[in-house]
Amino acid sequence: MPKDGIGAPMKRREDLRFLAGDGRYTDDINLHGQAYVWFLRSDVAHGRITRLDTAAAAAMPGVLRVITAEDFAHAGGMITAWQVTNRDGTPQAEPKHPILAEGKVRHIGEPIAGVVAETLEQARDAAEAIELEIEELPAVVDMAAALAPGAPKLHEDIDSNLCFDWGFVDDNKAKVDAAFESAHHVTTLELVNNRCVANAMEPRAAIGLYDRPMDHYTLYTTSQNPHVIRLVMGTFTLQIPEHKLRVVAPDVGGGFGSKIYNYNEECFVTHAAKLVGRPVKWTATRSEAFISDAQGRDHVTKIQLALDKDGMFLAFRTETMANLGAYLRLFATVTPTYLHGPAAGGPYRTPVAHVHVKGVFTNTVPVDAYRGAGRPEGSYQLERVVDKAAREMGIDQAEIRRRNFVKPEEFPYQTPMAVVYDSGNYHATLDKLLELSDYAGFAKRRAESEARGKLRGFGFSTWVEASGLAPSRLIGALGARAGLYESATVRVNPTGGISVLTGTHSHGQGHETVFAQIVADKLGIDAGLVDIVHGDSDKTPFGMGTYGSRSAAVGGSAIAKATDKIIAKAKKIAAHLLEASDADIEVADGKFTVAGTDKAVDWATICLTAYVPHNYPMETLEPGLEETAFYDPANFVYPAGAYGCEVEVDPDTGAVTVMRFVAADDFGVVLNPVVVAGQQHGGIAQGISQALLEHTVYDESGQLVSGSLMDYAILRAGDVPGFTVDHSCVTRCEHNPLGVKGCGEAGAIGAPPAVVNAVVDALQAGGYGIKDIDMPLTPSRVWAAMHEG
């Protein structure tokens, strides 16, 4: 085994450039002759554009062109990647999403025109000279109001503000209702999953370049998936075929979902570069990000759980309204449906379940996938209702979960939500949590807190997600308009160095290190011989990018598969050189050996022979050593975890302090434990941040009240303690070659209910009869909840 093989805590090699200040993010790139765009954006949430006169602006110093919707007359709208079917069999409503507003504006920040000028300051100054008049229309921000009869309608090309009305699994509905009829106990909870803004620390940026002689475009952009952008923006929206467009996503400073989608500004700079004959650059300000990046979550849900007298779950059902904002982005309709429903049953053996989700258009910034995407909403509603049921029935929180868990021997487990959990051991992660959190010592800690005048609570969250997106055939049957395989090319060079080209993209996940470990492990060579290339559609094979905890499970599997092909060919070369049969060749420590002998050739000799094929089986083997694999997973992967959060609440102020946070996860095989722990920490922090601090607030007219980092609170170092994270409970994924499950979204899925359940526990222990409380648990909300009940 090489020292940096699978499972080794290899230090990240990408860190060297980031720590030296040598990262190359999109805004760090400056092209010769580049011009700058400043966008004129709507400052009302809903209105009709009655006048848009750009003549004065166009005449301002330095202005190259003022571009409006008319300049995109040839282009289509931005598309959505999934067609959800309504319960009545009709398709979802898909209103046009124009690049620049066409006659109407539908949310704060919607771009209306872009001024391209020599300098950013000139563009910005000129944008103020555009003569714009908007006749304001009544806005709808609240989902129930948007669905009410006579509500102001956002889109003229569809019937109402309803996008879809989806049930899952609809065949379960009658059985679910029957189970509720006969239940010993029913617990009901109404809750809001608050809207978040992803706020990756690097604001989005894009540079368009057009090469007239070659009729070829290049887009540099802050994307999690350059090939996807090339496909959807190029062919569907701008009508540029793929071979005429290169999309480069260089170093990207975090994504969390918000950099998946094809955005208006990317379309703009690509086309504007052709219109003005110069490269065109755009970099968002943070305030601009708040009104243009896709936002996340925003569900209003009623969930009910039916139980028998022993606290066994009989059924659950939900009624959810999911806010989509004003337009559909790429994953907007799949996020609250097929990313939400399949794992909504969590780790429990609930025999039947039904989730019912209505997607609603409102005059707010579009909503799409945000770290976890649909699964955090699922785990939040389920873990909170389980917590409440346990309290109502007087059952211990750990016990009610254990009683209802799928048992280790029941895998593969067919859930009532149409998916099969391939492997897991939920009892093991719960036991690990109880051990690491010293749950037995909690009563003592609570007493100590009480002695200091503080209320203390312990909150559980045991969760499962369906990730590793995704088996193409299955999702095709469910309405996906794409496949979700991943690609890899392993390119061995004549002197033995290897370039691995992957269709995934790293924006913090450490692929340049971890993927090299996979190849090094399989070949038994030093990871230093392996470089990872990603983020450039001209270099890498077509791939679907990074989201949905798919990079290791799907992208890593493609790399493993391509490496296996390399090994198979290398064995043939070795067999020829050693005059043996390739079936007898074994590979270890970078040597190809005839089994049971000391006859061997080393890796360098194999590579050189492949490219200098003087002594080579030319009749049966092509020269060279490069292989490509596409890997399409047979199933989702099902990471799972048991989380415990301990909080103190100050009864005088309602302030919540997180005292401990423990996560025991099962991610399958761990490729690099240090990188995995980092993903756990980051996800947990985002989950705690959503639970305690983050809130996106629109006023009644659709103005964004929380529009900057002054108004929108994000977790800081002093807001949390260190976290205890564990991933030693391993059940292998049964269907991918590495046995991995994926860890990127775990914390954001598991943490919020643990935090809220802990606060409810603290308040109940303090004698406050809190039943319902919604995130974020700010001091004022907690205090109000204590004194309302």
Binding site: R12, A198, A200, M201, D251, G508, G682, S708, A717
Partner: protein, 161 residues
């Protein structure tokens, strides 16, 4: 346009700036030193922290013109003379204190300033000092560990409570 001269990482530099040119713009656009990042427009995130005459400053909040004659240190100036990572930088790599790397320059500059003021800070002091730096990736856990390690303390002491 007025001219400004300063020393950046020990090197004398000068350039023409407008009155409204921020230090971070002068560094990134004027000097092409893109290691210092811009993460916000309200002085909240700390991605832009540099040292001005030895003191940590959010370079998005300082005018270049006000800093004529100043001594500036940026992330590009934190390596050892032989080009290897400096003490704080190395601790960040050793303890996985960065993921996407975007907040990292500001974090390293703030951490270095802390250690200059307080060579053996406690975990609580580290967390408090870094209040002006947002990291969206790491949950701060490994950043705090890295700073403890860079100060010669045992990073294993970071734990709940």
């Amino acid at each position: 346009m007025p001219k400004v001269a300063m020393r950046v990482n020990g090197r004398a530099v000068s350039g023409e700036v407008e009155g409204r040119t921020l230090l971070v713009q002068f560094l990134r656009e004027g000097l092409g030193m893109t290691g210092t990042h811009v993460g916000c427009d309200t002085s909240q995130c700390g991605a832009c922290v540099v040292h001005v005459n030895g003191v940590p400053v959010k370079s998005c909040t300082a005018f270049a013109l006000d800093l004529d004659g100043a001594e500036i240190t940026t992330i590009e100036g934190m390596a050892n003379a032989d080009g290897s990572l400096g003490r704080v930088q190395q601790a960040f790599q050793d303890h996985h204190g960065l993921q996407c790397g975007f907040c990292t320059p500001g974090m390293v500059m703030s951490a270095a300033a802390l250690l200059a003021e307080n060579p053996t800070p406690s975990e609580a002091e580290i967390r408090t000092y870094l209040e002006g730096n947002i990291c969206r990736c790491t949950g701060y856990h490994n950043i705090v560990k890295a700073v403890l390690a860079a100060s010669g303390q045992d990073p294993a002491t970071i734990a709940a409570e």
